[in-house]
Symmetry: C2
């Protein structure tokens, strides 16, 4: 065993801890000290892997977006109908909330004005990609007859994402997963054909 595999593990472990802290407390409310203490290393070691907090933030978003994209492709790969796929999409958000986490990019959207440009661009990119995917799903569902809605698919996609991000935001203070389910359930039934 060389020393290299260990390095990759530490990098990943840092991302894991930082990701959870950002999703729960926000980017401006976690510190290198928090992450270092939890991993049993020093902040200096942390700076070896991620030179600056902004750099760590960029890596956080990049990995999160890639994981999210993977989840979307997994949904696409199922033989389910569009309504079931939309439900699966809602469930991605639900699982984060069940872990007392906000969507990473939803949290960063709140703190948007305090972020460096590279992080801002990455956050916007995440939402654009999601909007594109949801719009595609809605459109194919409308063509297949599983969905019914007025206006453009893009407009409805924005509604879906806004409602889900907002549901997480508001349900978390209540500590009420059922409140999220109510919003998601209502969202799904809104697209059901009459």
């Amino acid at each position: 065993m060389s020393a290299s595999p260990r390095a990759a593990n530490t990098k990943t472990a840092i991302l894991d801890v930082a990701e959870r802290l950002v999703q729960r407390r926000g980017f401006n409310a976690f510190s290198y000290g928090d992450v270092a203490a939890e991993l049993g290393i020093t902040t200096a070691a942390l700076h070896y892997h991620y030179a600056s907090k902004s750099e760590l933030g960029e890596s956080l978003i990049t990995r999160y977006a890639a994981t999210f994209e993977g989840a979307l492709q997994a949904i696409d790969a199922t033989a389910e109908e569009p309504p079931a796929k939309l439900a699966a999409y809602c469930d991605i958000y639900r699982r984060a909330l069940a872990g007392h986490r906000m969507c990473l990019c939803g949290m960063l959207a709140a703190e948007f004005e305090t972020l460096a440009t590279p992080m801002r661009d990455a956050v916007v990119g995440f939402f654009e990609e999601n909007e594109r995917w949801v719009a595609g799903l809605l459109e194919s569902g409308r063509e297949a007859g599983g969905f019914s809605f007025a206006g453009t698919a893009q407009r409805s996609a924005r509604m879906v994402i806004a409602a889900l991000e907002g549901a997480m935001l508001v349900a978390r203070p209540y500590g009420d997963l059922e409140m999220f389910d109510e919003v998601a359930g209502r969202l799904l039934s809104d697209f059901a054909p009459a």
Copy 2:
């Protein structure tokens, strides 16, 4: 600057500046120094008016909730029909977004885990009050025939608030007011009778 006529209203001026900073940057990303510098006073003077940052935060939410409540009563006092009242409700959020601001309590909801108990309670109280008001409006609209929706009014009210908070959250990074309008417009048309 020392002869500012604002001197007698320092407490209010502090709230004004702090409120804008929290709505734009978040509670954890503004400091006594930021507020003091903008007002041309020292942080020591600030501590005279608000002994701690948490105390300032509580006053911020209390005033915000009262102002919001006043806006709701103003809507109630109009002779408009429920759909027009719901549109007016959406417009409260829209005006904040036009000023590049998140809803104060939406921002604090993101930072919820980092807040002291009194601030948490005040944030939850704000959302409960809003949910109550919107549910009442939806119910009276359904009875009068201006609205049509399935399920309980409370459930639909949660959907409305989640969508509006989420629309603000997601639209702000884009700097796109029209994106908020799309979500709000879709929300309003969803409640229109078939």
